[in-house]
Symmetry: D2
Subunit: 457 residues, 4 copies
Amino acid sequence: MDEVKDKCGVIGIYDGKDNFDIARLLYMGLFSLQHRGQESCGIAVNANNEILSHRDMGLVSKVFDDNILSMLKGRHGIGHVRYSTCGASCKDNAQPIIVNYKDGMMAIAHNGNLVNANELRAKMADNGEVFLADSDTELILKRFVYYIAADHSIEKAVEHTMKEITGSYSIVISMPGKLVGFRDPHGIRPMIIGKYKNTYILASESCALDTIGAEIIRDVVPGEIIIIDDDGLHSYQTKTNGCSALCVFEFVYFARPDSYIDGANVYAARHRAGRQLAIEHPVQADLVTAVPDSALAAALGFSYQSGIPFGHGLMRSRYVGRTFIQPTQEMRDSAVKLKFAAIRHEIEGKRIVLVDDSIVRGTTTRLIVQALKNAGAKEVHMRISSPPVKYPCVYGIDIATSKQLIASKLSVEEIQRMIGADSLGYLSIEGLNQIPENVNLGLCTACFNGKYCTDED
Amino acid sequence: MDEVKDKCGVIGIYDGKDNFDIARLLYMGLFSLQHRGQESCGIAVNANNEILSHRDMGLVSKVFDDNILSMLKGRHGIGHVRYSTCGASCKDNAQPIIVNYKDGMMAIAHNGNLVNANELRAKMADNGEVFLADSDTELILKRFVYYIAADHSIEKAVEHTMKEITGSYSIVISMPGKLVGFRDPHGIRPMIIGKYKNTYILASESCALDTIGAEIIRDVVPGEIIIIDDDGLHSYQTKTNGCSALCVFEFVYFARPDSYIDGANVYAARHRAGRQLAIEHPVQADLVTAVPDSALAAALGFSYQSGIPFGHGLMRSRYVGRTFIQPTQEMRDSAVKLKFAAIRHEIEGKRIVLVDDSIVRGTTTRLIVQALKNAGAKEVHMRISSPPVKYPCVYGIDIATSKQLIASKLSVEEIQRMIGADSLGYLSIEGLNQIPENVNLGLCTACFNGKYCTDED
Amino acid sequence: MDEVKDKCGVIGIYDGKDNFDIARLLYMGLFSLQHRGQESCGIAVNANNEILSHRDMGLVSKVFDDNILSMLKGRHGIGHVRYSTCGASCKDNAQPIIVNYKDGMMAIAHNGNLVNANELRAKMADNGEVFLADSDTELILKRFVYYIAADHSIEKAVEHTMKEITGSYSIVISMPGKLVGFRDPHGIRPMIIGKYKNTYILASESCALDTIGAEIIRDVVPGEIIIIDDDGLHSYQTKTNGCSALCVFEFVYFARPDSYIDGANVYAARHRAGRQLAIEHPVQADLVTAVPDSALAAALGFSYQSGIPFGHGLMRSRYVGRTFIQPTQEMRDSAVKLKFAAIRHEIEGKRIVLVDDSIVRGTTTRLIVQALKNAGAKEVHMRISSPPVKYPCVYGIDIATSKQLIASKLSVEEIQRMIGADSLGYLSIEGLNQIPENVNLGLCTACFNGKYCTDED
Amino acid sequence: MDEVKDKCGVIGIYDGKDNFDIARLLYMGLFSLQHRGQESCGIAVNANNEILSHRDMGLVSKVFDDNILSMLKGRHGIGHVRYSTCGASCKDNAQPIIVNYKDGMMAIAHNGNLVNANELRAKMADNGEVFLADSDTELILKRFVYYIAADHSIEKAVEHTMKEITGSYSIVISMPGKLVGFRDPHGIRPMIIGKYKNTYILASESCALDTIGAEIIRDVVPGEIIIIDDDGLHSYQTKTNGCSALCVFEFVYFARPDSYIDGANVYAARHRAGRQLAIEHPVQADLVTAVPDSALAAALGFSYQSGIPFGHGLMRSRYVGRTFIQPTQEMRDSAVKLKFAAIRHEIEGKRIVLVDDSIVRGTTTRLIVQALKNAGAKEVHMRISSPPVKYPCVYGIDIATSKQLIASKLSVEEIQRMIGADSLGYLSIEGLNQIPENVNLGLCTACFNGKYCTDED
């Protein structure tokens, strides 16, 4: 579809003798991370060194119910939400992955994507290993267990594993007596540490901590290994090249506005993006409106900076869900019409600034611009709160291939004509780099400029 | 739950030799009316005087797919969305109701509620009639068919039926060669006429016409009977007592913001409600924010009038769906936490005006106020864009019984203390009456003041 | 398909202060009547004059579970199993039908078929009545309620209704304080009365009584009305023309072998049919084998009479269920191969007598004969324990239309050639009439000779 | 439950340029093997060295439909049916197991059980391997792939694997360009080779070959490895200790009567068991009847030998399926009543010989004996066509643990009293050993005498 999508969210909780209902806390955390993956989800808990788990296709609120959660009793556990493009066979790919190994059972959940998966898989296959799915996570898990079986400590086993894998990974593992988490040396995908009484939580985003009622301790540092057990939280720092590259799209689009990532608030970053956009691409207009829901903060920022009043000119249906596949272009256009509706009364006769966070193929944007014009807009000035997406993401974001990315084929002027807008302005990369206030990592902007941080590893 | 809910939406389409795919147009229309009922839906089309239909529990996008729509080929047809409180047995209550009668097959769909249903049912039962469900619609249908069988014209049969029934009703009927629609003499529930090329559409709200691509012709007048056939649209006006009483909650909460009802735009009405609320209950504050999604327009109106900036301080999860039933109050509180999240960065240290459209039980409101305070709000000033709901609705709106309505038990001051707000202001009934600009009907405000228009019939 | 099928089974139970779990008894009874209809089933119980019910498509063991039965608490109730040819819309046709009427709620279940349904429906429609489905049962119910509302006693209301309807019907009705049962004046479909402690049961077959643990009291007499209430069982005999016509196919094929119908045991009747068949169509052979399961008794009878040993030469898969529809003849042949398998070791080199109870289209028979030949049978002598089916059944049996009935188109010799058998013998109508030992009713043989008992009513 | 159950059936087909629809042939074969496992099933085909597969819980006729089969296009493939006691998590255990390995993709299906699985798994885990399920098959697969990766030929890799595993296994593997099958050195579980035009088939039983239309070539020999590719069928014989031990329960109960296993016909073996039983345990009686369906052949054999006529005195419902779990003993008794019904007319006043193939717990037998007595049997003489089952099976048969086996706790006399029979006779082990006429392997009778063939390996 015509959207940039995240692929996963993870969470891990280790009960610090609070006697919490771990499965229910994991459920609440996963619920808050639902925006990171809507296709499948799963929870695995460690109950006296046996792993109990439940995974299925569907939303967290549908996959789990009271009965299922009641059966998932344990001291610690992990959860996962996932979006994937792999079709029907996806059921087998739902995480957490659960295995038996030398010391008992282990569950793993992973957000990210390896860039050297094929080489690594080939090498392992040459040694006689078998693989169940086309999954990077299985590779990481097997190398980790290999080092464990070779009598390394957990932290050393992770460190050895990290030396063999290149790419993005924020990972949680539940194993006998321990909850383990680690983040790739560039910190491409986020991971944060929270605490609720004596209980530690690791999660992709801080919103999961808020929902549970936990407080933020700090972010996991790029290359850091966290091990939580009955003695508390232990940290081990692996060597990195010092070049951090947190995915900037977390701020632009994926993350929940109430989350803090590596020190910066997402809502505030989006508001700043809107303000910066108004500075970079000012325009005379009567109303600022947003493509709901994600561009709302940026539109408010644009309105704040420009002084042009903000209005609710475009509605998004709360009921769209998975409409059936539309065979013709005409029917696909109808789907957009079902999803978005312009409020004529607010739009008619006005010059509109329409703020969105990105343009992928441009087809949806074109139909929305047209909807505003049909509703009587005199002018439609499109403003995008991120730079043109020109390069594919190799770190776990579902961006269309280069061929489908309109900005890799057309100039800004051509895109403007194609979408039928009266003007079009994108946020600059320089502007973008400034938007997450107080962020304490460098940012990955590879999808805008093609500079992949792992190329130099 | 803690909400006021509409119970139904209807649509009817008669193809004026445009060879449209009627079922697909009905689907698109129903999709736009989904906010009027999410429990069940159905479509019935007339194909050479045989009715083909499909009905099921669930959202329009789930109940119908391409195959099903392809089988529903017909010249004219009707559709229905429904919310109901009746539990598992609801499947049997899904509409349209389809029957065989003297001249063939007929389908009927109804939005509204009769107040003399019990008396009428008892009278008919005494004559030996049987009833399949506890449904007002079945009564109306049977009286209509009775008069048809007694050799009355369609319009006379409707007129005779209308004399026997008291309450609210906007009805569409598909019968051999005709699409029939009529609206109760007070016009309590809305109904509008649209046209797309030569094809007429009747629908609960104009947003259905927009989605289909049809233009608005005019609203059906209270007491008016519309008959559409190959000769076009025919109108018959029945006698009314001149006292119209359109449900004002359509403007406050139910209807889609882009709809026009009896001449007035819904979004504009809500914006005006917010402005009027700022006049009636001014307050010193730093930020206006809304309980999403329905109170957004009123909050923007409050911000516009008061000059206090609008911000996005409260998020609503797009993934809530039907969470499993929560047995304890604690768990129910968790459900609210999953549904709403405060954005600390926007809220912290500020005096907040929180705008919502109504308070039913007050429990959700209390938790939201608390969430804002937890996120660091210095003060929370609650503003409600409608008067206190004190009386049950007998015209088809799902309002809790008087016992559950907080405003029927507590004073405004008591409610303020109960929800933990620093101040609380409701829109006055006088203020409310002015909000739908250019509305050409009187308004029903029975749930606020207990004056039921049909009491004088 | 290539089979004669029954369409329904009914049961009713009135708890005589035994405090039985009525729903569970109805479940066990329906389970035993499953062979009379496998498409849908339902139970309705009267709980303080409210009817609680559950109906769905599928087998009794699948439609009901412990939870559902636990919710169906009541003093008396009825159940129904149904086979139908009507496709997807069948869900609406599942019985019992439940209605509200003047004195409360009523549930009805019906086995049989009216021959004057169209005339009756037209007459009622002219009076302004509406009909929900194409169901005879709805007509009977409405006439009954009409007479009840006209202040007739229950027995008089049934009697008036019976005067208006022609055809076959064994009916049970649960209404406030009463369980009612009646059987058509010719006794075409069976119905029997049982008693378990103080509790009366009405059922299509005695096997339902056995399963429950009840004893047989007697059969309901043609034209008899049974009313059971707290005062016990009351019988009312309506006038009949004395000509009884119990469906003989109950003995040939439908009924369970352990059932007794109107005085005669089904297994014994089938065994006699096989003996009579051996007398009418003797043959030199080495082994008698049966088309399982229904022809087993007849094959044993043939073996007994002829002295030719019985062997298990043909197996029927217990796992066939509903295989997916086979588009080509070749695939349909495969389906027969999946369903039946010859046991070569038993068949090879022998002259086989193959006994079946009927031939409908002949296609299945042809494939079975061929399977035996492929397994090395030297000769295959087909023997059918009923006469050639030449006429459609108008009393509720699913026999193919005349066009599809092979015996209405081909002579016995032609059928023999078509199925590839070395000889073919059908039981004579005279022989058939003698098979149910001690049966106390006349037999309907309309499907063999075209003499329909209701033609003279 | 109160039954001995097989756990699996396998099939493999390699298309010899006949352009058959492999998936449909696998479907037909699996359908015929359904009696070997009803819980889950699966098919995997090799399409240009990619494996396409479908697996699910349920019967073959439910899990597969036309669409699914049409997508499983390939040159060769395997199928599996499975019964398992593992509960809800079984979905993950459905076979075939599909993996990626060094040379591409591989699918494996297994009938049998390893006795050294725990030791082998522990050894592999110590080397750092992970395991997805508690499955013997995964172990075999991994050792096989290990040897393949170590550059052994397929036959050598199988041979090395066979040296490491002890127990029963009949296995089929689909790998790039090859279909591989092998059978354990004792031949505990059966496997047969068939041919249909140029296409080879490996299957658990010959009935699968019949259904497909293939001819029997020969059985796979204990310890034999079969490799089929475009050059035809290749056989490699591994060294065995010469002690073969085919499971005798295949003849007594599991296998389909029309199957031939290692030279002997199953139906004939059962008939001989009945004849031998009549010699060993003669009795004066009026009627021989069988517990349907599996004891039918033995009952006919008993009747043949004794001269006592065979009759159909006991019916088995075709509709039982999975009734919901019965919490009380009383309800469990009801389940037996629903499953079996005595035909009073055939039983009343007679001395009955009741033949069954085994007694596990005795509870079902007790209820059946009682049912016959309730139906008027003067005497019930129980005859069992196999010896008392006293020892658990470690080779893949689901026999209750020793504690639940009635014959491991009670003497024959005690069992007779417990089941309420007038006499009880079991077939002797000596008698049993003679029943499979012309069988060319030794027989495993460990469950009767505790002599496990693999103890001496």
